[in-house]
C-alpha cells in the first residue's frame, strides 16, 4: 500500500517511469522477434487451416489484451473513484485508446483469418460480435472523456462508465453467445481443435508476453505525456494570470 501511495506523486512516478519505458519497449521488441520467429518459421502449419493458422499468433494475444485493457481500465477507474488516487485516473484514461487499438487489431486480424477460413470477411459469430460490442464500449468511454471539459468531473463520470461497462461485459457476452446459438448459420465451420499443441503454444505465449510488455511501455509513455500536458496547462494558466492580473476560474 505504501508503494502505491508513494507513486501518487507525479514527480516520483516520472523518476520511475522514464528509465522503465525503454526497458519495457526493448523487452517487447525482443519478445515479439522471438515469438514471430517461432510463429512463422518454427511451428507447424495446421492440418486443417494450413498456413493461415499463423494469423492466430497476432490475433489471439490482441483479443487477450482487448479484455485485459478493459479490466485494467475498470480497476484503475475503481481505484481512482474510491481512493482518489490521482495517477489511477490518468492510467484509466490512457489505457482506453491502447485497449481500443488492441480490440481493433483483434477484429481486423480475425476478419483476415475469416476470409480464407469461413469464406467471408465478417460472420456474426458470437466472439466477433461480442468483441465488436467491446470496441463500442471503449469508444463510448473515450467519447465521454472528450465531451466533459472539467477534467476532475470527467474522471469521475468516466470511471462510472468504465465500471458499469465492465460489470456488463460478461452479461453481453452471455447474451451474444445465446443469440448466436439461435442463429448460427450452418455454413460456418468451427475450426478450433480440441486442445493446442506445445509447438503452437510457445509462440502464442511469447507473443502474449510481447503484447503485454508493449502495452506497459505505451501506457508509461502516454501517462507521462498526459501528466506533462496537464502540467503545461497549469503553467499556462498561471502565466496568463500573472500577465493579466486576473485570477481565472
Amino acid at each position: 500500500m505504501a508503494f502505491i501511495t508513494d507513486y501518487a506523486n507525479p514527480e516520483k512516478f516520472e523518476r520511475l517511469a522514464r528509465p522503465l519505458t525503454p526497458v519495457l519497449a526493448s523487452l517487447a521488441a525482443a519478445l515479439a522477434a522471438l515469438g514471430l520467429y517461432f510463429a512463422l518459421f518454427n511451428s507447424p502449419a495446421d492440418y486443417q487451416q494450413g498456413e493461415s493458422v499463423r494469423i492466430m499468433y497476432v490475433h489471439v494475444p490482441a483479443a487477450w489484451m482487448a479484455l485485459f485493457c478493459y479490466t485494467a481500465m475498470a480497476a484503475a477507474s475503481a481505484a481512482g473513484f474510491i481512493w482518489k488516487h490521482p495517477l489511477a485516473d490518468v492510467a484509466a484514461k490512457t489505457t482506453a485508446p491502447i485497449g481500443a487499438v488492441f480490440t481493433a487489431l483483434a477484429l481486423i486480424t480475425g476478419s483476415l483469418w475469416g476470409k480464407p477460413m469461413w469464406g467471408t470477411w465478417w460472420a456474426w459469430d458470437a466472439r466477433l460480435t461480442s468483441v465488436l460490442i467491446l470496441f463500442f464500449l471503449y469508444l463510448g468511454y473515450i467519447a465521454i472523456w472528450e465531451a466533459i471539459e472539467d477534467k476532475t468531473r470527467a474522471a469521475k463520470i468516466a470511471a462510472i462508465v468504465a465500471i458499469v461497462g465492465f460489470v456488463n461485459v460478461p452479461i453481453i457476452r452471455f447474451s451474444v453467445d445465446w443469440w448466436n446459438s439461435l442463429h448460427q448459420p450452418a455454413s460456418v465451420i468451427r475450426a478450433d481443435g480440441p486442445s493446442i499443441h506445445s509447438s503452437m503454444l510457445t509462440p502464442l505465449l511469447l507473443m502474449g508476453a510481447a503484447y503485454m510488455a508493449a502495452y506497459a511501455a505505451m501506457l508509461l509513455v502516454s501517462m507521462r505525456t498526459e501528466l506533462a500536458a496537464r502540467r503545461l496547462a497549469r503553467l499556462e494558466r498561471l502565466q496568463s494570470e500573472r500577465v493579466s492580473g486576473v485570477r481565472a476560474e
Binding site: 465521454i144 465531451a147 468531473r153 463520470i157 462510472i160 453481453i172 439461435l182
Partner: protein, 220 residues
C-alpha cells in the same frame, strides 16, 4: 416513498400536459416502423416474419431519442438541485425519474405496438408474447437509458453521446426481448422471457446505484 410518488406524478403530469410531447415518442415509434417497412419492401411474408424484431428495434430507438429530456430540463431550471437536496437517498429520486420515463415514453409505445403489429402483418399468435416481452424488457431500457442521461446531464447537447454510451449496454435486453417475442423463428421463447426479466432486475440494481452516483458527481 412520498418523494418517489411526488417525482413520478410531477413528471407524468408535465409529460402529458401541453408541450410535454409524450405522444411524440409513440409517433416516432410508428415512423421508425414505417422506415423499416419502406427499407425492407412490401413483401408481406418477409415483413410478417420480421415484424417482432422490427417492433423491438423501433422500441429501442424511440427510447434512445427520448433519453436526453429525463434530467436536462430539470438541471437547467434548477429543480434537479431541489431534488438532490431533498430526496434521501438520491437513489429513490433516480428510480422515480426512470419510472416516470417508462410511464411516459415506453407505455405509450407498448399501447401503439399492436396497431403497428397489424400494419406489419404480425402473426396473430405473436401479439401476446410481443406485448409481454415489451412490458418485461422496456423497464431495462428506461433504467439504463436514465443512467446514460444522468452521466451526461451537465452537457449541452448530449443526444448522440448518450446513444453511444447506452446502445452497447442494450444488447442483452434486445436479444432476449426479440427472442421472448418469438423472434423470426419462435424457438425457446419461455427461457428468453426469464433471461429478459433477469436483465431488467440487474439493470434495476446497477443503473440505480451508478445513476445516483453520476447525478452526485455532476451536481457539485
Amino acid at each position: 416513498m412520498t418523494a418517489f410518488a411526488a417525482i413520478v406524478s410531477r413528471d407524468v403530469r408535465l409529460a402529458f400536459r401541453a408541450g410535454g410531447g409524450s405522444l411524440q415518442g409513440a409517433l416516432f415509434f410508428a415512423i421508425a416502423a414505417l422506415i423499416f417497412a419502406l427499407a425492407i419492401g412490401a413483401d408481406i411474408a418477409i415483413l410478417s416474419r420480421l415484424a417482432a424484431p422490427i417492433l423491438w428495434a423501433c422500441a429501442l430507438l424511440s427510447t434512445l431519442v427520448s433519453l436526453e429530456r429525463i434530467f436536462q430540463a430539470d438541471a437547467e431550471d434548477g429543480s434537479l438541485d431541489v431534488i438532490v437536496e431533498t430526496a434521501d437517498p438520491l437513489e429513490v429520486a433516480f428510480l422515480a425519474k426512470a419510472a416516470a420515463h417508462w410511464l411516459t415514453a415506453s407505455l405509450p409505445l407498448i399501447v401503439a405496438a399492436p396497431v403497428i403489429g397489424v400494419l406489419l402483418n404480425l402473426p396473430a399468435e405473436r401479439f401476446a408474447p410481443l406485448i409481454v416481452s415489451l412490458l418485461v424488457g422496456t423497464p431495462a431500457l428506461s433504467l439504463i437509458g436514465a443512467l446514460g442521461a444522468a452521466l451526461t446531464l451537465s452537457l449541452k447537447r448530449a443526444g448522440v453521446l448518450v446513444t453511444i454510451l447506452v446502445a452497447p449496454l442494450y444488447a442483452p435486453a434486445l436479444i432476449f426481448g426479440v427472442a421472448a417475442s418469438g423472434g423470426p423463428d419462435a424457438p425457446m421463447a419461455a427461457s428468453a422471457l426469464l433471461f429478459l426479466g433477469a436483465a431488467t432486475m440487474f439493470s434495476l440494481i446497477i443503473a440505480t446505484l451508478a445513476g445516483a452516483a453520476a447525478i452526485r458527481m455532476n451536481m457539485n
